[in-house]
């Protein structure tokens, strides 16, 4: 039982490492989708004895959304944006890998600092959740394309789900579904925004999105 959940959690962490080492955007989308499916199945692995109909429905909805609808939306955005299919990170792949391992160590330490007030079936839940969230942040700041930033957002979302799913925090199903709906709309709207960005600028590199700032050098300083 415990080894089953531990291996799923380790799988999620390995997905993170794989993600930061991958250079093709399409592969990245697939990895994040696969990670989402793994996360969605956590309640089945963790609470195999007490699976209700509601939980199963929710797991199905999550799998459909994270595993199929999101990648579909992102692939569509990628196709329409017609960009180069490389990730082009600010920080190189080997350094990113080292960084992620470092993040995982910090998360282990954090997890040890915050003991759970309720029985937990695996000591890895909290560290894996924290590490996934932090790696999501790392992806957002270290990758240049708008699309990879959405992927980072999804990784953060996955990390939060690890925590919620593994503990099976009992929220009413309606609220859970509303949260899923919100995340869906977020990705949908971001997809539209990516499409507009690519039409407006002919690429989706976010470092061109830097016109808005304070203290810009005045355009025409010299006036006769």
């Amino acid at each position: 039982m415990s080894s089953g959940i531990d291996s799923v959690l380790m799988g999620i962490i390995l997905m993170n490492l794989w993600l930061v080492a991958t250079s093709r955007i399409s592969a990245c989308i697939k990895i994040v989708a696969f990670q989402g499916i793994l996360v969605a199945f956590l309640p089945f692995v963790a609470h195999a004895s007490s699976v209700t109909v509601e939980t199963s429905l929710f797991v199905l909805a999550t799998v459909a959304l994270k595993g199929f609808i999101f990648p579909w939306l992102l692939f569509r955005a990628l196709r329409e944006a017609n960009v180069r299919r490389e990730v082009e990170p600010f920080i190189g792949y080997p350094v990113s890998m080292v960084f992620c391992v470092f993040i995982f160590l910090i998360s282990m330490w954090l997890g040890a600092r915050l003991p759970m007030p309720r029985p937990v079936f695996s000591a890895l839940v909290v560290p894996v959740s924290f590490a996934t969230i932090l790696i999501g942040f790392f992806i957002i700041i270290s990758r240049t394309k708008a699309l990879t930033q959405v992927l980072g957002y999804l990784v953060i979302e996955n990390g939060i789900y690890v925590f919620g799913m593994a503990l099976l925090v009992e929220q009413p199903v309606l609220v859970e579904l509303a949260i899923l709906l919100d995340v869906f709309v977020a990705v949908f709207v971001m997809g539209i925004a990516i499409f507009h960005i690519s039409r407006e600028f002919d690429h989706i590199d976010t470092h061109h999105l830097s016109q808005l700032r304070d203290w810009t050098a005045p355009k025409e300083e010299v006036r006769p």
Binding site: V150, Q171, A186, H196, W215
Partner: protein
């Protein structure tokens, strides 16, 4: 009543996507804004019963902020209708040699109304899950509003807004889960009433972690430094109606969300831990705002940084606790009314001068006399000059700090306010005075009554509040303040 407050704008918003006639849609916007205001007034007089097992309650804190949202939305609707009519005439704007098309008006009106529904849901909900859903919904429906002018800079602002706020609010979701964990193995309710009832039993380390995540998450949306980076971009690039609502209503919604978490923490007896965080981020925001108001070249950005300053003041007031909380609640009212009015006037100036650069706008008092006078009045109001309400609420917070013997904080607060006064004066005054630039196309500007009327009303309200606080409002403010004051 509470269902009406939420569903009327929601249904009207959905309808306006399919209504093809501009006139009908604008009339509907006005009617919804008016009826929302009327329903809010009823809720203030007679507290509505709780709905859905205590998930939705309009407590004093909720009524106060619902009132702010409703009044601002009504003003924004008046301003917005004439704004939309004007934008219709020159749909293809020309700004810095860049042609752009506005988004369809139906989408704009629809999103505006759904935005109102989402904000109403935020202040009503007592369940942290629903609260989160509503907050995220405000981000998603306001993103198309910011991208109304299909301009590449508004696109940049929209992208930053979407990403930064979505990620920020995702952290608040983690905070929600932590809140559920604090209650031990048997229970994981996310109802505020349950959390307050079980206050002393909550697990303290996890509750602290939960508050930090809620604070950082919703604080991002509230525009507290250093999580504020989306705010100046979004406020400066959005149409002025939207900027007014973002600044006056949306930031307050985020503030309410943080306060809900704070309520649970007070019940658990870690109020002082939270207060330190409130004070720290309040002071940080004040510093950031001061630095960026000085040397600001864009007047809408300057107003945005002023919003960060005022959010900092709110946070500081709550952090000081005691009498300052009343001051903070009062300040929220004053700031919203004043700032919305200023954004409306900024919109008038922008549409006449066609630039957001401070150095290119001169002689507003001559070219647009009514807007110019209101612009000056707004300047005095927002910087806290005596007859206005903003002065009174800032003074309350300052006095509370001195009464508690926190002289250092009081000195910093005062120094920063003086610096901001000077910084803002260097932007407001030259814009209003002097002769109009020679290359201005039509020196005698037209000012339709509806473009200045909302600001006139809002600033008059702030002026009245500075001289006299009505008994009903005072009671409401104290009741709201009592909910978020840590009684030792």
């Amino acid at each position: 009543m509470m269902f009406g407050l939420f569903f009327v704008p929601l249904v009207a918003g959905l309808l306006s996507f399919i209504i093809p006639w501009d006139r009908l849609r604008r009339t509907m916007l006005m009617i919804v804004a008016g009826s929302h205001l009327a329903m809010t007034a009823c809720c203030w007089i007679v507290a509505p019963p709780t709905a859905l097992n205590g998930w939705f309650v309009l407590d004093p804190l909720g009524v106060l902020f619902l009132g702010i949202i409703s009044v601002l939305f009504f003003a924004a609707a008046i301003y917005g209708v004439q704004y939309l009519a004007k934008e219709k005439h020159h749909r293809q704007g020309r700004d810095e040699q860049f042609l752009f098309n506005n988004a369809p008006e139906a989408v704009f009106t629809g999103c505006l109304l759904i935005f109102l529904a989402a904000m109403t849901l935020v202040v009503m909900s007592q369940n942290f899950g629903v609260l989160w859903v509503a907050m995220e919904a405000t981000t998603l429906v306001s993103a198309p509003l910011i991208y109304f002018h299909r301009h590449h800079r508004s696109l940049e602002a929209t992208w930053k807004y979407l990403l930064i706020c979505s990620v920020g609010i995702a952290l608040a979701l983690l905070g929600n889960l932590f809140l559920a964990v604090t209650q031990g193995p048997e229970q994981s309710s996310l109802l505020l009433a349950d959390l307050i009832k079980n206050g002393p039993l909550l697990n303290i380390p996890w509750l602290k972690a939960a508050f930090i995540f809620l604070f950082v998450g919703y604080g991002t949306k509230m525009g507290l430094a250093p999580m504020h980076t989306w705010l100046p971009d979004a406020h400066s690039e959005a149409p002025s109606v939207v900027s007014a609502l973002l600044s006056g209503a949306l930031l307050n919604c985020a503030f309410v969300s943080v306060l809900r978490g704070y309520q649970a923490c007070i019940a658990a007896g870690i109020g002082d831990f939270c207060q330190d965080i409130f004070i720290l981020f309040g002071i940080l925001s004040l510093f950031f705002a001061t630095i960026f108001i000085f040397g600001q070249t864009d007047y809408k950005r300057m107003l945005a940084y002023s919003s960060i300053e005022h959010m900092g003041i709110l946070s500081l007031g709550v952090g000081l606790s005691g009498a300052a909380v009343y001051g903070a609640m009062f300040h929220a009212v004053n700031h919203s009314l004043t700032k919305a009015g200023l954004f409306f006037i900024a919109g008038n100036i922008l549409s006449h001068f066609r630039t957001k650069e401070v150095k290119d706008v001169r002689g507003v008092l001559r070219v647009l006399p009514r807007s110019g006078v209101l612009w000056m009045a707004g300047f005095f109001a927002i910087t806290g000059t005596p007859p206005f309400g903003v002065f009174l609420s800032k003074f309350m917070i300052l006095r509370a700090a001195l009464d508690q013997g926190r002289v250092g904080l009081a000195v910093i607060f005062l120094a920063v306010l003086c610096a901001i006064f000077i910084g803002a004066a260097r932007i407001f005054l030259p814009m209003a005075q002097g002769a109009a630039p020679e290359d201005l196309k039509n020196p005698a500007g037209k000012e339709p009554g509806f473009s200045v009327l909302p600001t006139m009303i809002l600033l008059a309200l702030v002026l009245v509040l500075g001289l006299y606080i009505p008994g009903g409002l005072s009671d409401l403010l104290s009741a709201a303040a009592r909910m978020i004051t840590d009684v030792p």
